[in-house]
């Protein structure tokens, strides 16, 4: 406390702000001029933007097309299937949050909050009257309640629920696809009707889930001592990394049918999924390989000296460390994969961004002054941002957590 007098702080917060302003913004006459100009410019921009944001009538276009935005041309009387999938995810997220706590629970809380906010907003949405039992507010608030229920149940079950939950997560993907696509008793909804956020989510989650194991295998293959495996992996990775995603998508959509017999028709969404996965796997492989190479050689030597065989050494020692080291890079890659799925528009699939274009070019808005594209694109951008921001924040949290006691 003896140094207190030397670095005495003024106690009045107003004084602190005033001093800060004086020191940083108005310390010379030309800095004062620049500061005033910038403040004026910012004020101008912000007030125009906010004025537009609050007064524009264009939001009606988004509100009237919410179903289109979220699920594309998925038949309205079947939308309950997607709602069922969302509800399942909500319950699983909640349970996981309750069981694992920490970061997972934060994610669950965030998910629940977004659902609740959307649910409350949904009371103001125009009802298309197609779904009399499960209206959007009931569905959204119900899902939020499922998250809460899950967190509560998860924290009661604790440890015991870990393995069943992991299994449920693994099963979720195929079950969700089955419910959305139909078959086994449910009417089939052709994939050309899938669109909007639904399509974006399916493409990017498939891309992430499937490219991860593939990429890890390619990375390990590239470091293999067997020349054929190594050669194949190197060739694959370098080939894919040498071409843009658009090319891979075109190849999958247009070239593939030329090589296959006429009877074999592969669905175009499936083809896009495969293209995105194969593309992402090559980049993921290089990132994982970077992680593997960053490990000191002593790690493998210690493992081998203990008698662990090469497979055990990889699975127990090198791979876990390599993956930890590259989590930020991988998440960065997943974020760009998520956004890159918007390229499927050029092969005729209508994802979130494609739907936006469909919405603002509807004939209904022809006479709307200035059009409605700003509002539509802003909403779409917001949706992309929420997902990307969540991913990047989560990766940052994981990084922070893992740096504890880990050098």
């Amino acid at each position: 406390m003896t140094t207190e007098s030397a670095h005495a702080r003024p106690t009045n917060p107003a004084m602190v702000i005033w001093d800060w302003l004086r020191q940083n913004l108005f310390n010379t006459w030309y800095n004062s001029i620049i500061s005033v100009l910038i403040v004026a410019l910012l004020f101008q921009l912000l007030s125009t933007f906010l004025g537009w944001l609050l007064t524009t009538q264009g939001w009606v276009a988004v509100l009237k097309n919410l179903r289109l935005l979220f699920v594309g041309r998925y038949p309205a009387d079947q939308v309950w299937r997607i709602e069922l999938v969302v509800a399942m995810i909500a319950l699983l997220v909640g349970l996981s949050g309750g069981v694992w706590k920490g970061i997972v629970r934060n994610l669950a809380t965030g998910f629940g909050l977004i659902l609740s906010v959307l649910g409350l907003l949904a009371f103001t949405f125009p009802n298309d009257g197609l779904n009399p039992f499960i209206t959007p507010p009931i569905f959204l608030l119900g899902s939020a309640a499922l998250v809460a229920l899950g967190v509560w149940g998860g924290s009661r079950l604790a440890e015991a629920a870990r393995i069943p939950l992991l299994i449920s997560w693994v099963l979720l993907y195929p079950i969700a696809i089955l419910i959305i696509r139909g078959g086994v008793g449910l009417p089939i909804v052709e994939t050309n009707l899938w669109g909007g956020l639904l399509l974006t989510m399916i493409l990017s989650s498939s891309g992430i889930i499937l490219s991860f194991p593939l990429g890890v295998l390619l990375a390990l293959g590239r470091r293999s001592n067997l020349p054929i495996i190594k050669g194949f992996c190197v060739a694959y990775i370098e080939l894919i990394r040498g071409v843009p995603l658009v090319t891979v998508l075109f190849m999958a959509q247009l070239m593939l049918p030329l090589f296959l017999p006429d009877q074999v028709r592969i669905d175009s969404v499936l083809r896009a999924m495969v293209a995105v996965t194969l593309f992402s796997a090559a980049y993921l492989a290089e990132n994982v390989r970077g992680g593997l190479q960053s490990l000191p050689r002593g790690q493998t030597e210690a493992a081998r000296a203990l008698g662990l065989n090469p497979v055990q050494t990889t699975l127990l020692i090198t791979l876990p460390q390599a993956l930890r080291a590259v989590i930020p890079v991988l998440v960065g890659q997943f974020i760009s994969l998520f956004k890159d799925t918007s390229l499927v528009v050029i092969v005729g699939l209508i994802d979130l961004l494609g739907i936006a274009r469909t919405i603002y070019s509807q004939a209904e808005w022809k006479d709307f002054t200035g059009g409605v594209w700003r509002e539509t694109l802003l909403v779409v951008a917001l949706i992309y941002w929420i997902f990307s921001f969540t991913m990047s924040r989560t990766s940052k949290k994981i990084e922070e957590k893992m740096s504890v006691g880990y050098r």
Partner: protein, 249 residues
């Protein structure tokens, strides 16, 4: 230390040669180590002592000569290599603990996955070993939270958990701060007194004088001279040995 050593050799190396490209790293290294014997290998850096000790569990491959460990000949057969690795524990200069696993997990990993012991059994054994090296209270920490000396003691416990018949030490104290050297050497001395067969590459001449049954002096990939600590320290035969000892003592 000679009272608990018998004459039966557990390690036999005959004319071991190794090249790194053009560089002849090991030249006709021939040595027999008896059960329970403590052999200290010393020599200037680049003399091939680490390379030699690493050929014994095949972290380095030798190109010519024979290595037989506990009756198993070192060949390219992966089964032989794995069998030898199960019999030999190794401690490294850089500790090489697994940073993503706790101390306890570091020690129990190999017993569980290689020896197929139960978790409970391995953890009991690990506790016992940690007590022996004096850091049982650190069991749930990660290696990064321990001091260098503690890490090296964990590394020794990890190697011992496999119940090896031979322990190889590759400059175990060279990366340690001076005040931590003693705690590691104490553990090694205790191990030597317990009758473990040990091969140590080290510059700790005090340790060599106290516990070694034999000192091997290597230079330029060759064994120049070997003998009891008494012979080597008081009456070295070779000029190179004299020079080396005068520089480090």
């Amino acid at each position: 230390m000679a009272e608990h050593t018998n004459q039966e050799p557990i390690i036999i190396c005959e004319g071991v040669n190794k090249w790194y490209g053009e560089f002849h790293a090991l030249r006709d290294v021939t040595i027999r180590v008896r059960r329970g014997e403590v052999v200290v290998i010393c020599g200037p850096s680049g003399s091939g002592k680490s390379t030699f000790i690493r050929t014994i569990n095949r972290l380095e491959e030798h190109q010519r000569g024979t290595i037989i460990v506990d009756g198993i000949e070192m060949t390219n057969d992966i089964r032989n290599i794995d069998a030898i690795r199960r019999e030999t524990g190794m401690v490294f200069q850089q500790f090489n603990l697994f940073p993503h696993l706790t101390v306890m997990q570091n020690i129990t990993l190999a017993p569980i996955w290689v020896r197929k012991k139960t978790r409970k059994e391995s953890e009991a054994k690990a506790k016992e070993l940690l007590e022996r090296v004096g850091i049982v209270e650190q069991a749930q920490k990660f290696p990064g939270q321990l001091s260098g000396g503690q890490q090296q003691r964990v590394a020794i416990a990890r190697a011992l958990a496999m119940e090896p018949r031979i322990m190889l030490f590759d400059e175990p104290t060279s990366a340690l701060d001076p005040e931590m050297v003693k705690e590691v050497l104490d553990v090694m001395k205790e191990l030597a007194r317990g009758g473990m067969t040990m091969l140590c590459v080290t510059h700790e001449m005090g340790f060599a004088r106290e516990v070694a049954d034999r000192i091997v002096f290597m230079d330029r990939g060759q064994i120049m001279e070997e003998g009891t600590p008494e012979q080597i320290f008081t009456a070295p035969q070779h000029e190179r040995t004299k020079l080396f000892l005068s520089q480090i003592l």
